[in-house]
């Protein structure tokens, strides 16, 4: 428990970043392994090394995903996306939901790692949303997409740290639980915008979009969890066009009088500042790299399903057998957890990013944008985004590896299962995921830290492994909405740092309702098996 307490104190109490606190948690885990769990330094080194290797799988999604984002951002693709969406409607509530929920979810599905917050918050500010609400809305709107978003980096990391007996069932139940925060996000953002009058105006839109987000994600997990959120959020983004032609959402909503989220003096038409320069490209060109990614992924999946060579081209480091003084044995593995680059989503992301870069360069978008504005270089932006997140991921995976391989996770899990009755643990399991995300500001890192523990408790208490891991994943997704680091990131993006507590007060009630609902759903799902 001590490494988790150390992380909690440093991240929440001392407000260290995840990259700074993560390694300290790793040292705590190593110290406890040596002094309390009778592990040799070699055992600790091997466990740490396995953790670093596990991180490679995650980093190979993180870096290409951020490269894909940076390639488009520097060419002006996101400005084109924003203008493309904003042209659709004169209804302010429609635009707030389009940006704060639909577009934020799409960004989480494609980039993640805080990007939905720092991109959408300033866009909402440009629409006339007050700064505190401009941060709170994407925090709520993007959360559900965390688990299978960023091309399922959270899911892939979970598969690295726990050996699931039925991965398909786990993915399916996770998608069921994630539907609740999605649906409640739509209603919560409408409520924040204009209280109950806005909810009454928005409910058809919320139900339709949530059916696409939640329903399509659920269906797609049966086929390929890695693409489930990406495709669901892409379809919802495209769906905005026909929805914007519906008279209910094409004209200003005159029945909403109270609009606490909006700055004074706006007329409710959602007009964006006329000072903004014209985008350098159209909506279709802005989406090109993501389209290439989707096509390459589908082709690769078809080849993989046919059982041809790419799946077999795997590499992995060897590790010897290790045993602690308490008799915990980890068998030798050669190779340990082989990495198959030709079937890994990171490769498909790289293809999309490089194609986008070449096309944008040939068409002169970078040149045009450089003439207009000073922009941060692609590489500089990529390293600035990815380096701290990478350190945190390596440190958390090494911590998780050391705790798992030296028997600490088992002891902790057995202790929790003895204290809590199974039904209480089932109800509260999503809160453990939420705690992990609150501490580390990531669904991925929460699952890396706590999925092994949840799996062990589930086994000890006779609970459904798939349901408990699903609750952990859903809780981890919702926890990112209240993670202090994410809130601070958003506040920095709108230039009003220091009011993080005010944002949390707007987000916490939503998170509490979702946690209670998810707890109840987890208890119900525990006795069900779908696949």
């Amino acid at each position: 428990m001590a490494p988790i307490v150390v992380l909690l104190v440093l991240l929440v109490g001392r407000r260290w970043s995840a990259a700074e606190a993560g390694p300290v948690g790793m040292f705590a885990a190593a110290g406890i392994a040596v002094f309390a769990f009778r592990s040799s330094l070699e055992t600790v080194a091997v466990a740490g090394g396995k953790g670093v290797w596990d991180a490679v799988f995650v980093l190979y999604v993180l870096w290409p995903a951020l490269l894909l984002y940076r390639v488009g951002e520097r060419a002006g693709a996101f400005a084109a996306l924003r203008e493309g969406i904003a042209r659709f409607s004169r209804n302010e509530l429609f635009l707030v939901l389009a940006f704060g929920w639909v577009f934020a979810s799409f960004l989480q599905a494609t980039a993640g790692f805080g990007i939905p917050i720092v991109v959408v918050a300033p866009l909402l500010l440009a629409l006339g949303v007050r700064p505190l609400y401009a941060v709170a809305m994407p925090l709520i709107g993007h959360a559900w997409a965390n688990m299978f978003g960023a091309f399922a980096v959270g899911w892939l990391a979970t598969l690295q740290v726990v050996e699931l007996s039925n991965p398909a069932e786990t993915a399916f139940q996770t998608a069921i639980l994630l539907w609740t925060p999605n649906l409640l996000a739509g209603f919560a953002i409408a409520w924040l915008y204009g209280r109950w009058a806005a909810v009454r105006h928005a409910w058809p839109l919320v139900l339709i979009v949530s059916a696409v987000h939640g329903g399509l994600q659920l269906a797609l997990t049966l086929w390929e969890p890695v693409l489930s959120t990406f495709l669901a959020t892409s379809v919802a983004l495209v769906l905005l066009r026909p929805l914007s032609r519906w008279r209910r959402y094409s004209e200003p909503a005159e029945d909403i009088e109270e609009r606490p989220a909006m700055q004074d003096g706006l007329d409710g038409t959602g007009e964006i500042s006329k000072e903004e320069p014209r985008p350098v490209m159209g909506l279709g060109m802005a989406l090109l790299p993501y389209g290439v990614f989707a096509v390459v992924t589908m082709v690769a999946l078809m080849i993989s399903t046919a059982g041809t060579a790419p799946e077999r081209l795997g590499v992995g480091p060897p590790f010897p057998e290790e045993e602690t003084g308490f008799g915990v044995v980890n068998e030798a593995e050669e190779p340990y957890s082989p990495f198959t680059p030709l079937t890994h989503p990171g490769t498909f992301l790289l293809v999309g990013a490089l194609t986008g870069y070449v096309v944008y360069r040939v068409r002169g978008y970078y040149h045009t944008r450089n003439e207009r504005e000073e922009t941060q270089g692609i590489w500089a932006g990529l390293v600035g985004d990815a380096a701290p997140a990478s350190i945190a991921i390596v440190a958390f995976l090494a911590t998780s590896g050391i705790m798992k391989e030296t028997g600490q996770t088992d002891v902790l899990a057995l202790g929790i299962s003895e204290v809590l009755p199974p039904v209480a643990f089932t109800f509260l399991s999503n809160l453990i995921g939420g705690l992990g995300a609150f501490m580390t500001f990531g669904n991925t890192t929460s699952n890396v830290l706590f999925a092994p523990l949840q799996q062990t408790v589930a086994a000890a208490g006779g609970l459904s492994e798939a349901t408990i891991i699903a609750a952990q994943s859903s809780g981890g997704a919702v926890g990112t909405a209240v993670a202090p680091a994410n809130v601070a990131l958003g506040m920095g993006a709108v230039g009003t740092a220091g009011q993080e507590g005010d944002v949390l007060r707007r987000v916490l009630p939503w998170a509490a309702v979702v946690a209670l609902t998810t707890g109840g759903a987890t208890v119900l799902l525990n006795n069900l098996t779908f696949l």
């Binding site: 720092v118 060897p318 010897p320």
Partner: protein, 77 residues
């Protein structure tokens, strides 16, 4: 050193530990896995040490996040 350079150094140290630990532990060469363990520890320590020695302030972090959010700053403003 800039914050990004320090983060880059920490990341390289963490990743460099992997082959040394794997090869050293598998071949039974204590010096190799020991060096890997030291690199892993150093990679972790770099940021914690930099936290107390770096001159980068919270204000800079906020400005960076703001720039990321807006993506650009206009030349002629």
């Amino acid at each position: 050193m800039s914050k990004v350079q320090i983060q880059g150094l920490a990341f390289v140290l963490l990743m460099a530990s992997l082959p040394l630990i794997s090869i050293g532990a598998t071949a039974g060469v204590g010096f190799l896995w020991g060096t890997g363990l030291v690199l892993l520890a150093l990679g972790g320590l770099v940021l914690a040490i930099a936290r107390y020695t770096s001159s980068i302030s919270g204000e800079d972090k906020g400005r960076k996040a703001k720039e990321r959010g807006r993506g650009t700053s206009r030349k002629n403003e």
